[in-house]
Chain length 241, copies 2
Amino acid sequence: MIRLFVSDTLEADVQIVPSRGQTHYLMNVMRLGVGDEVLLFNGRDGEWRARVAQASKRDCRLLVLVRERVQAVGPDLDLLVALVKRGRLETIVEKAAELGARRVRPVITERANADRANIARLAAIAIEAAEQTARMDAPEIFGVQSLESVLSGWSGVRRLMFCDEAGEAAPAAGALAGAASGPWSILIGPEGGFSPAERARIRALPGALPVSLGPRILRADTAAIAAMTLWQAVLGDWRGA
Amino acid sequence: MIRLFVSDTLEADVQIVPSRGQTHYLMNVMRLGVGDEVLLFNGRDGEWRARVAQASKRDCRLLVLVRERVQAVGPDLDLLVALVKRGRLETIVEKAAELGARRVRPVITERANADRANIARLAAIAIEAAEQTARMDAPEIFGVQSLESVLSGWSGVRRLMFCDEAGEAAPAAGALAGAASGPWSILIGPEGGFSPAERARIRALPGALPVSLGPRILRADTAAIAAMTLWQAVLGDWRGA
């Protein structure tokens, strides 16, 4: 069934007016009609079944019926990712939604491959990807910050999985297996890696866990996906019930 | 340094004529000149340093100098992947190269999202991605086969990591941790999943290990990357020296 993320409060008997893009999708792409059902979520109120109550080419109303699942959120996982080329950054956001990250925070590093990002577009990609998974929230996309502004004041309460492509670090799965769960961030560098000064800075942070992602050179999107996968498998919600 | 995959035999003092595409890349994109050096590999003879001996817009000769690394291949990992839409299949091939799969075998399943693939283009993508990792071979891309023709006669000598999105399977990392290394295949289904008959067929194979990739619905490319990552981390060459 089609799942849509909305910003409205969800409760029985309220009417929801989908956004213009959602209306186009429901009415003209999927060609739903009155009586067809969809699922709605907003990150707060769980997942609700709703019925198309009014349908025309440009106008659609959804009547919220019944809650199908109570709200649940995944583990507290941040993805800190250096600004890389637009297409790869968009892939990373899509995959962060599928792999259960709670936030994506683009950061500028010395060797970053870009100096800005279209946050609104990334947020839309995150929502669209979240709609296609079974999750009941969408990852929040932070505005671009410098790496230093993110790291300054890092207390260590949140652990940091530092994907250090310069080698020397322990294999990721084994290193994570010895660590505790709780709030974590994953840090992924740009295609050119971190500078020596950045590496030293990151490794000296409280709570930093440098890890290696195998013997081959990975593109930033591959590294991000691999790191989120290993984290979920070892410390996150892939461990099973 | 630039790395190029060539088909020629590599030994000291031979001259290599790069392909037309490689020549364009070296001469017009990277603007190399006589005396500049590159690395060459062919999947058989290790990695060799070579020097540009002749350079013009349309003509380039490379003189092979010295072997930098002896040939090594990664673990014997096959990726069996259902035909999905072209863009996602290309992503999967690129990532298979980065994540150290030895072969990619596109298969037609009941709910496959396509019925053919441009194998020559996929092979070119595999080579380009291999050039950008540190590996000394490129994944072989098999021609399209039906799932049944691949599974018939499956002896079980090669184990099969079956990514079963219908749930019920054990979490992948734990399941793999109890298994032996050796030759393995990973099987990834199409966006619509496997049919009940296919699932029963696969689960009954000798050597099949059904695994789950977490509680969210993953696109085929995400599932392929996650599965290869976990396999390399638990049974492959990400375990460290």
